[in-house]
Amino acid sequence: MYKFLEYGVYGASILLILIGLYAVLTKKSLIKIVIGLSIIDGGIHLLLITIGYLRQGTAPIFSPGFENAAAKMVDPVPQALVLTAIVIGFGVTAVALSLVIRLYRHHRTLQIDEIKSLKW
């Protein structure tokens, strides 16, 4: 049963990455592309956290009286990395959406094939 869980969590995060990539590669709407990018980010974050998970582990926070509980704690490093990655991803998403707004201002459309004044 636990094996299924393992496949399930990894499979779901990889599926998220693939779905996001599909959206980025095939969709024509600019906002859909940005949505795809944020879905990819979500998948990668879940993947990283899953890597750091420890069965029956506790969160990496020491409470009074349990200063020696380090052996049972989940890996804190991927959590720190994901923390950084989430904030960076949000910044990039915001810049992308501001570019979308500006493209819309000029072209009055969100369709990629109508904006194509440069060669894609």
């Binding site: 990889i14 599909y22 069965r55 200063e67 950084t84 501001s98 500006r102």
Partner: protein, 231 residues
């Protein structure tokens, strides 16, 4: 046609990724000499910080955090410069939806509580889950609530810019003080206190509070400038 090609490529990619990760196993200790044991050890014995994630984010990998707040700072600046219009015809802002009286008074009630929660979270970043990013983002959601509920709720751009710059300057200056004092950037130069007390962890608490202010100001400014974008 193009879709099938993409699906084919993605299937191959997914197969290899799944192969790579399903062999890992879920929840077993994997590496003997990873860095995490050292972190878990030192955070108690040397830094006296209860929350290991905080000690990693601020001390062990503090340089990443400095880079990260810079990324947010650049994102806000980029947003401003991308959406910049020469003619200042951005009068009223676009309203997402008209809010009812219940929403208005509810927001007014909730706003102080949200700000308080955010401040609590970033002040206790080294003791409980949360910290500067989380607290800052929560404060920004408080401002967002007010912006959505009240059409004429104004946040001064100058104040946001001051808070943002000052918090960033204090972060770097603390780092440079550590450089002067101990020889390495961001080094702790304050007494590290006792584990699980509010004043513990040396500079970690101060830096995380500064990160909190900076993130709150940046995210609020970001939301504010997008909301005021009227087509």
């Amino acid at each position: 046609m193009r879709k099938f090609l993409v699906i084919l490529i993605l299937a191959v990619l997914g197969f290899y990724l799944f192969e790579a990760f399903s062999g890992l196993g879920l929840g077993f200790p994997r590496f003997e000499h990873g860095v995490k044991d050292y972190y878990l050890d030192k955070t108690v014995s040397e830094l006296h910080v209860a929350n290991t994630v905080t000690s990693i984010v601020v001390s062990f990998r503090g340089f990443d955090t400095l880079g990260e707040v810079t990324v947010l700072f650049l994102a806000v600046s980029a947003l401003g410069s991308v959406l910049y219009k020469r003619r200042h015809d951005v009068g009223s802002r676009s309203i997402l939806f008209a809010s009812s009286g219940i929403v208005r008074s509810g927001s007014k009630l909730l706003f102080p509580a949200i700000i308080l929660l955010g401040v609590y979270i970033f002040i206790h970043g080294h003791l409980t889950p949360g910290g500067g990013f989380q607290g800052g983002a929560i404060i920004a959601t408080g401002f967002l609530l007010m912006l959505l509920a009240y059409e004429n709720f104004r946040v001064s751009h100058h104040v946001l810019s001051y808070v943002e710059s000052l918090a960033g300057i204090i972060f770097v200056v603390i780092g440079l003080l550590g450089f002067i004092d101990g020889g390495t950037f961001l080094q702790n130069f304050l007494p590290s206190g006792i584990l699980n007390e509010l004043f513990s962890g040396g500079v970690i608490g101060i830096i995380y509070v500064m990160v909190g202010f900076k993130v709150a100001a940046e995210l609020t400014g970001l939301i504010y400038s997008v909301l005021h974008e009227k087509d």
